[in-house]
Structures are given as C-alpha cells and as structure tokens.
C-alpha cells in the first residue's frame, strides 16, 4: 500500500503535466513512486564531492 502523502503528490504532479491518471493505475503508480523515493534517499545520502560541474550531460 502506497504512502498517503504519495497519493497527494500524485494529484499535484498530474495536474501540472495534464495527465488524467486512470483510477486503475493509481495504486501501482503510487507504489512505484514510493520505490523511486527510496532510491532518491540512497542517492541523497551520497556525500557531495568535487567533480565535473554538476554532472549534467555534456
């Protein structure tokens, strides 16, 4: 079961992108967003280092 705040975030993001999210996929999308949030937490735990400027694609 997805986190309640994820459901609220989906409502906001779909409005911005003009995405009419079908009800049938709302829970699946929320669970996938929770998974992405866990990966973001891992990425954000990485200490910042000196390196190529912000790493954006050249």
């Amino acid at each position: 079961m997805a986190q309640p705040e994820t459901r609220e975030a989906i409502d906001a993001a779909t409005r911005i992108l003009a995405l009419a999210l079908p009800e049938a996929c709302r829970e699946g999308v929320a669970q996938n967003l929770d998974l992405l949030r866990s990966h973001l937490a891992i990425v954000e735990s990485c200490p910042a280092e000196d390196g190529p400027p912000n790493g954006l694609k050249p």
Binding site: A9, I10, A13, T14, L17, A18, L19, A20, L21, P22, A24, C25, G28, V29, A30, Q31, N32, L33, L35, L36, H39, L40, I42, V43, E44, S45, C46, A48, E49, G51, P52, N54, G55, L56, K57
Partner: protein, 441 residues
C-alpha cells in the same frame, strides 16, 4: 546445422561447401517446429530471408567476395527497425505503427557482412523489465528449463541463441537487458561501451543509458559480431590485471553467483578485490534516470493511451513521468562522481568481475527473488548488479560460467579501448573450460 557457430557457417558458405539457402530453410523449419516451446520469436521474414540467401549463394558461385558473416542467420529484438515492417518495441499499440523506411544501422551492417535476417524477438514492453513477461506477446521461456524465466528485457534474443535456433541475435542493454538474459540462458552477451555501436534506427528507452549488442554461443562468434557491429578490428592486448568487485556487488549474490566468481578467481590464481564506494548510489541513480527519461519519452502517449500499455510497464513509466526534476539532477551528479571512481579503478586493473544476475533463473510462477532478505520483483531487480555498471558506460561481457546446475553468468568489465585484451583473456578461459555456453536438449 542450426547449432553451427557463425564462424563455421561463414567459412563453409564462403568456400561453397554449404549453401546459404539450405542453412536458412533449415533454420526457419527448426524455429517453426521448436519456438512454440519458448516464445522467443515474434515474426519470421521467411520470403525475404530465402531471397537474401540466394543473393549470397549467387555471389559465392560467381567467385565474388562475401563478408565475414556470409550466410549466418540472425534475428533481432523487436525494437530494431526493419525496412517495411512496424517496430513494435514489444507493444501491442505499435503493431499497426507506420513501417520503418530503412533498416537500423546495425541491421544494415550485419546484412552487408553477409548475414541473413530471419525474424524479430520477444521482449518486455518498451524494454522496461528484466523478465520478458509481455502481457501482449507472451512470456519467453528459458530453454534450459521452460518453467523458468529467460530474463529480460532481451529475453527472446537470449533464448533463441540458447535453444540453438540461430547462432546470433541482437538485443539492447539499458540497465542490464543483455547481461541478465545472457546469464540466465547460459550464453555470451555483450554490452558495449558508450557510443561504440550506433543506435540509429533503434527504438529508444533511456538516452543516457541505451546500448545495443550481440548474443552468441561462442566467444569467437561474439568477437566477429562485435567487429562488424562496431566497425573495428580488435587488437590483441597484454596480460590483464583482474580483480573481483566487492561491497555492493557481493551483496544479494546467491551461492551460485558467488561460486562462479570464486571459480574464475581460483582458476587464474588471484585474490584481488576492489570495493567501489557509492556503487549502491550509482545503481539508484541509474534507476532514477531510467524512470525520468523513460517517463518523459512516453509522456504524450501516456496522456492519451495509458490503458493500452502493459499495466506493469505503464505504472513504472507514469511514476517516472511524475518524478521531481531535483531527483533527476541529483542522480546526474552521482553519475559524474561514479564515473570518476570507476575510471580510477581501471588505473590499477584491466578487468573487474561481478555477478551478472544475483541468482539463477527464477521460476515463472514465482516471479520474485530475494533482495536484502525479502522477496522482491524479479522483473525489477534481476539487474541489480548491472545497473551501476551501465551508469559507468563501460564495456561488459556477460560470460557463461560452465559449472553449476542451472546457467549463471559473470560480468567481465573493462575500460573503453581494452576490449581486445578482454576478448583475448576470455578466449583463454573459454578454451580452459571456465566459461562455456550451455547446450540445451
């Protein structure tokens, strides 16, 4: 005849000992007879293949020059453009898409080398998965045990080669989609370094990570295919410095995956270990970049045809489309740091070893593997040890370990420009029996 290697077929065709038309007709008959057990193929180009075979035979009969892959039957994952046919990318909604006007550049190169295109191969829809469980075109089954997954997303490409139906196929590898099915099906698979093989005419998934490469049953075939696809002649290297990757790459590895790397290291008499810091973050960064770029690529179609997608793929793409840009930017920062770390490791070593999959092929009716001690989706996690290496953009050969009951592969990673050294080293290990593609019944 269908189990002959590309090198042997090309040699015999070139010298007029066998006819290409005979090779192609037998190959097509074999596929029609056996593929219903595996669901590897999605289309056969029977008339075009026979016509192309006759052209090669006529050239041989006239004493003309034929290419290094003369008469070799090959097939491609259903995301390579084939002139005159829609490129489905494994999606039912694309079955009626406009036909491609020309072949993908790599298809053109293989044909120019004398190879004969036989058909297209099954995949996860839009290449988003590690299972080749396709809601529309069916599940590709592992030729070594049809109750098990072939892996994905290039599962049809791996299964067709493992079953001996064709000696050469092409797949794509964004996060491990060549290495994972090669491992589970016990064949050779190559993810090239960034930019080494052109992507023109290949349906995209994640621009930052997409690559394409071959599957074969012998390393000699992998070398000849790579040289044609990349347009290079690999030079011989010296004696490589080899180490195994530890840390994140040892975590979640099953006993079979660990045993395969132990066997290689024992065989070469080395205990060198490299622990690349931030590997887990690199894997997560690849996950985030994939979600964001994949979601953005499909945004317009998701707005209008969301319910026409494979549900599992649709929900992942939608979630990616909704990912905040700050997460995407942070993932690119990790990518830049990670590439520096990997490059530094190659100052001390030439080849790094890691599991290609955390486990042998899972059963289709289970669909899960253990990650951090808990059941997790095989579709999303079979490439856990591949994704960080995709982000590094380095060449990787998934080599089939000869031991064990079911197949499992080892990722043999090198630095761009050292592919020749890697192939020389692997040829020695293949000759000494450490790596061997598995025969199927």
């Amino acid at each position: 005849m269908s189990r002959m290697s590309s090198v042997v077929i090309a040699e015999n065709v070139g010298q007029g000992r066998i006819s290409t038309e005979e090779v192609v007709r037998r190959t097509l008959a074999d596929i029609r007879n056996r593929d219903p057990h595996f669901t590897a193929f999605t289309r056969l180009f029977e008339d075009e293949a026979v016509a192309a075979a006759r052209v090669v035979d006529a050239r041989v009969a006239a004493g003309g020059t034929v290419g290094p892959l003369a008469g070799v039957p090959f097939a491609v994952k259903d995301l390579f453009d084939v002139a005159g046919y829609p490129t489905t990318a494994g999606a039912l909604m694309r079955v009626d898409a406009p036909a491609a006007v020309r072949d993908a550049e790599v298809v053109r190169r293989l044909k120019a080398a004398g190879a004969i295109l036989i058909g297209t191969l099954n995949m996860d829809e839009y290449a988003y998965g590690f299972a080749t469980v396709n809601a529309h075109f069916g599940t590709t089954r592992n030729p070594h045990d049809v109750t098990r997954l072939a892996g994905g997303s290039s599962g049809g490409s791996a299964a067709a080669v493992a079953a001996g139906m064709v000696p050469l196929t092409l797949g794509s590898d964004t996060n491990g989609s060549i290495r994972v099915p090669a491992s589970l099906c016990g064949v050779w698979g190559l993810r090239p370094g960034d930019g080494a093989i052109p992507l023109d005419g290949v349906f995209p998934f994640v621009e930052a990570l997409d690559t394409i490469g071959p599957f074969t049953r012998t390393l000699g075939d992998l070398r000849s295919a790579y040289e044609v696809l990349a347009g290079v002649k690999l030079s011989s290297g010296g004696t490589p410095r080899v180490a195994r990757l530890d840390g994140f790459f040892a975590k979640n590895a099953s006993a079979e995956a660990v045993a395969a790397i132990d066997a290689v290291m024992g065989h070469i008499g080395s205990d060198a270990v490299v622990d690349l810091p931030q590997a887990e973050a690199a894997r997560s960064a690849a996950f985030l970049i994939t979600a964001a770029q994949g979601g953005a690529l499909h945004l317009d179609t998701l707005r209008t045809r969301a319910m026409d997608y494979d549900p599992a793929v649709r929900d992942r793409l939608l979630a990616g489309a909704l990912l905040p840009s700050a997460a995407y930017v942070k993932a690119w920062e990790v990518r830049a740091q990670w590439r520096v770390k990997v490059a530094r490791a190659f100052e001390d070593y030439d080849i790094l070893l890691a599991p290609a999959t955390p486990t042998v092929a899972p059963r289709i009716d289970e669909g899960t593997i253990l990650i951090d001690g808990k059941p997790a989706s095989a579709r999303a996690n079979l490439g856990i040890h591949c994704q960080a290496l995709s982000l590094a953009g380095v060449p990787v050969v998934a080599a089939p370990y000869s031991g064990g009951v079911l197949p499992i592969g080892v990722q043999c990673v090198t630095a761009p420009g050292r592919e020749g050294m890697l192939f020389d080293w692997l040829e020695r290990l293949e000759a000494e029996g450490v790596f061997t593609a598995r025969e199927t019944a």
